[in-house]
């Protein structure tokens, strides 16, 4: 694998940071002031759901408990997403400093990084990095001389389950159970890991925190749009000249991103990974932001030569594989949608049945227990809608009439 050492440039995350500076500043602040700063910044979760970070922090800070936990969700499993890999390899100081600050703010003593099994090769380097932090008094007892503030971080290795990116499934797996999502409420902020108040934040969310602490929420809010403040890391792959991780401001148009990465003859863009939406050309002037084309950062580009039905087939195979099987809409629904795709591929379908499947897709969105089943039909619905001409009025249709 390539390990890039070239310096990345960006407005917020890649704007330059020296290890420990945010921790030092945070420790000189009141906990309430840190919470207010985060709230003012309007930082929202970067994993994809976009839940306000300050709400999670405030609820868990307010919860009374002898023990609290900070969990860094590094179970980046969404197809087309690899920004967390880059952050953990190149900018571990941002992620870990963010965890220490979160720990100080809510009164937690232990942080856990849930690292996906596929990133096992990061386990050792990250352990070594944590050791240097301990040596420099950025972890452990009385951090940077702050009497009574203890915080340490452990790394927990997952074992190859996409669903464990869902926070309650992640916690189940940490506790030694199958990674099956819990009913919510209660939410992890008051009943999380071991039944204790727990914050589960995405790697990128935590990596943004040190910048907000050092440079202030006013500076941070200048970036992005009113509802989506700051910047976002985009993992760009597919048909383009320069795939990779890009830091762009929220509000960037899809077409601008395509220009930037050298995408030509683009037919479709999948925004938000397999669980996101597939857009055709008429949508390319839409903005990447929570209020418009929302995404956890995955951008997959398809050029004119791609068969969108094959793309959809790939996505549905993925979800059939990764559904945990706990609830029926997701377990059976995804299989039925995949069968539907195969029927269309063979040309053995009726529109009446496809319409039923679309209804099924919508039912899955409301009836599934966790985010996986609630979002897995997005690709099915958006591809069939945005590319109906290609799918129903071309080769597939022809081949079955002949």
């Amino acid at each position: 694998m390539e390990t890039k050492t070239k310096k990345r440039m960006g407005a917020v995350i890649f704007s330059g940071y020296e290890r420990g500076t945010a921790i030092k500043k945070a420790l000189s602040m009141n906990r309430e002031d840190i919470l207010l700063e985060i709230r003012e910044s309007k930082l929202r979760g970067r994993g994809g759901a976009g839940f306000p970070t300050s709400t999670k922090w405030m609820l868990s800070a307010a919860a009374l408990s002898d023990e609290k936990f900070i969990i860094c969700n590094a179970d980046e499993g969404e197809p087309g997403t690899f920004k967390d890999r880059v952050l953990l390899i190149e900018y571990p100081e941002l992620v870990f400093d963010g965890m220490v600050i979160a720990g100080y703010t809510i009164g937690a003593r232990q942080g856990i990084v849930y690292l996906r099994g596929e990133y096992e090769y990061l386990y050792k380097p990250l352990q070594d990095y944590l050791e240097t932090m301990r040596n420099d008094n950025l972890l452990g007892k009385d951090i940077l001389g702050k009497k009574g503030f203890y915080f340490d971080i452990t790394i927990f290795l997952g074992a190859g389950a996409y669903v464990c990116g869902e926070e309650t499934a992640l916690i189940e797996s940490l506790e030694g159970h199958r990674g099956e999502a819990r009913n919510r409420p209660p939410y992890p902020v008051n009943t999380g890991f071991m039944g204790k108040p727990t914050i589960v934040n995405n790697v990128e969310t935590l990596a943004t925190v040190p910048h907000i602490i050092v440079k202030g929420s006013e500076w941070y809010k200048k970036h992005g749009t009113g509802k989506s403040t700051g910047s976002k890391l985009f993992s760009v792959s597919g048909d383009c000249e320069k795939p990779g991780v890009y830091e762009l401001l929220w509000g960037t148009k899809i077409s601008d991103l395509l220009d930037l990465v050298g995408a030509k003859n683009t037919k479709a863009v999948q925004v938000g990974g397999a669980s996101g939406f597939c857009y055709n050309k008429t949508h390319f002037d839409r903005a990447l932001a929570y209020e418009d084309a929302a995404t956890g950062g995955s951008i997959i580009i398809f050029n004119e030569g791609r068969d969108m039905l094959r793309v959809l087939d790939n996505f549905m195979e993925f979800f059939v594989d990764e559904s945990c099987g706990q609830c029926t809409p997701c377990r059976i629904g995804n299989v039925k949608l995949l069968e539907g795709v195969k029927m269309i591929q063979k040309g053995e379908f009726t529109f009446a049945y496809i319409n039923k499947l679309k209804e099924l897709g919508k039912s899955m969105q409301v009836a599934s227990k966790c985010g996986l089943g609630q979002s897995s039909s997005n690709a099915f619905l958006s591809i069939l809608e945005n590319f109906s001409e290609e799918i129903f009025n071309s080769q597939n249709g022809d081949s079955y009439e002949n």
Partner: protein, 157 residues
């Protein structure tokens, strides 16, 4: 299993329990430890883990069967996993799969007759910008060509 093997396994699990703690939350870490060394978690190992953590063996099996990276039956010395998800698919992962299948004379999902390789698909490895990607045991390789992939297999013992 020979008695000595059983004793060695028990001792190993005891060590892991000591390291990660005698609690349910240590289960996945213990399973990882056994999987890493033995490439599978035998029925005996499952029973011993259950006994030492004071849970029912079926609980151990239920967790182990949930995760893609843990298995109860022996796979062989080297596990080759080729990413099948969209970005790698678009970068012609099929060609890599076919080359590996031809070279090892097996189909994907199978194990070679000398028990040297098992080849499987894996879902998104998170290397979408550098596809097609493949993992051999715990090492990952990117920007593969069929030739490069086969060469990598040759380097594995």
């Amino acid at each position: 299993m020979l008695v000595e093997e059983k004793n060695a396994m028990t001792e190993e699990i005891e060590q892991l329990v000591k390291k990660f703690g005698k609690k349910r939350s240590a289960l996945l870490s213990i399973l990882h430890g056994i999987q890493l060394k033995h490439r599978h978690i035998s029925e005996y190992a499952q029973q011993e883990i259950a006994r030492l953590l004071d849970i029912h063996p079926v609980e151990v099996y239920s967790v182990l069967s949930f995760f893609a990276f843990l298995n109860a039956t022996t796979k062989d010395r080297n596990l080759v996993r080729i990413c099948q998800t969209i970005s790698c698919d678009m970068k012609n992962k099929e060609n890599i799969v076919r080359a590996v299948e031809r070279e090892l004379n097996i189909k994907i999902g199978q194990t070679t007759s000398d028990n040297k390789f098992t080849v499987e698909y894996i879902n998104c490895l998170g290397l979408c910008d550098e596809g097609p990607a493949m993992a051999i045991n715990d090492q990952v390789f990117t920007k593969l060509t069929p030739e490069k992939a086969v060469k990598l297999l040759g380097k594995v013992k």
